[in-house]
């Protein structure tokens, strides 16, 4: 088990910024925000949604279609010694047909990326981190869909 974990970690470091997830044919998205924190107000959440969706539309994704894949943005935080520890995560959720007996259908996460950090300026740093995660998502999508 240790060997498997070590190999996986070695492989992860070799591949650097790339990801083993596949974003082939991911075109249509639906935005969903979930967060447990004390620094993102409803207004902030609206701005964040507009920023994320506009960037993704510019990158070629569409929003508002039926049965789109769900792009989940999750920002959770806890306070430790007067400092916020924040976890920003984006994931993709969709219906998939599994390889289990009887080809069971499941609502699954098919992409996930996150970053955890401590900060004194949680809103600003969360938006910066979210930007980075969206950048990586767009880059991987481009990479996976090129001929």
């Amino acid at each position: 088990m240790k060997k498997i974990f070590l190999s996986l970690m070695m492989a992860m470091s070799l591949f650097g910024a790339s990801s083993f997830y596949s974003l082939d044919n991911v075109d249509s998205l639906s935005y969903y925000y979930a967060g447990k924190n004390n620094f993102i107000s409803k207004e902030h959440a609206k701005t964040m949604k507009a920023d994320v969706t506009n960037r993704l539309i510019k990158a070629g994704f569409s929003f508002g279609q039926t049965d789109a894949l769900i792009l989940v943005v999750k920002i959770n935080a806890i306070v430790v010694d007067k400092t916020q520890v924040v976890n920003v995560e984006i994931s993709l959720a969709e219906d998939v047909v599994t390889n289990r007996k009887e080809k069971i259908e499941a609502f699954s996460l098919t992409y996930i990326d996150s970053k955890m950090f401590k900060t004194q300026t949680p809103y600003k740093d969360s938006m910066k981190t979210l930007d980075t995660l969206i950048d990586k998502f767009i880059a991987l999508h481009k990479d996976d869909n090129e001929e």
Partner: protein, 141 residues
């Protein structure tokens, strides 16, 4: 009889491991020794693709690189490909190909089972095509 063969084939496909399905679909050998014999017979290099069923990078490499038509055509033209499960096939292939990192591809001179070139980790089709060229150059030298 034909019906029995068909049922057996369907049954084996249904319960085949991912690696077996890939091998069948891509016409890769699953047996090191028979692939080696074929490589000797056809005077080609042996290409050993070492993967693991727990390894997401291996699956991506198979799906995004090895299944590309341009890659597959070059592999089939110049190499005899065999796919090996790093752990489950242990003992069925030589220890010098027990790679610490997967996916790994060994390009082997079938005459003496010496690895002349190795590609390590996931790579995109263009990079892997370059590796195929490098392997062939090593063989011709």
């Amino acid at each position: 009889m034909k019906l029995l063969v068909l049922i057996l084939s369907l049954y084996s496909l249904l319960f085949a491991a991912h690696i077996d399905t890939f091998a069948q679909e891509m016409n890769y050998s699953r047996d090191y020794n028979s692939a080696l014999a074929q490589a000797k017979k056809e005077n080609k290099m042996l290409m050993i693709l070492v993967v693991g069923d727990y390894c997401p990078w291996c699956k991506k490499f198979e799906r995004k690189t090895m299944k590309r038509k341009c890659v597959d055509a070059k592999v089939k033209a110049d190499f005899i490909p065999v796919i090996i499960d790093k752990y489950k096939d242990k003992g069925k292939y030589p220890e010098q190909f027990y790679s610490p990192v997967i996916p790994s591809v060994y390009f082997v001179d079938a005459r003496n089972e010496e690895s002349l070139h190795q590609s390590v980790a996931y790579m995109k089709k263009d990079e892997f095509l370059d590796n195929l060229d490098d392997a062939l150059m090593s063989y011709e030298e």
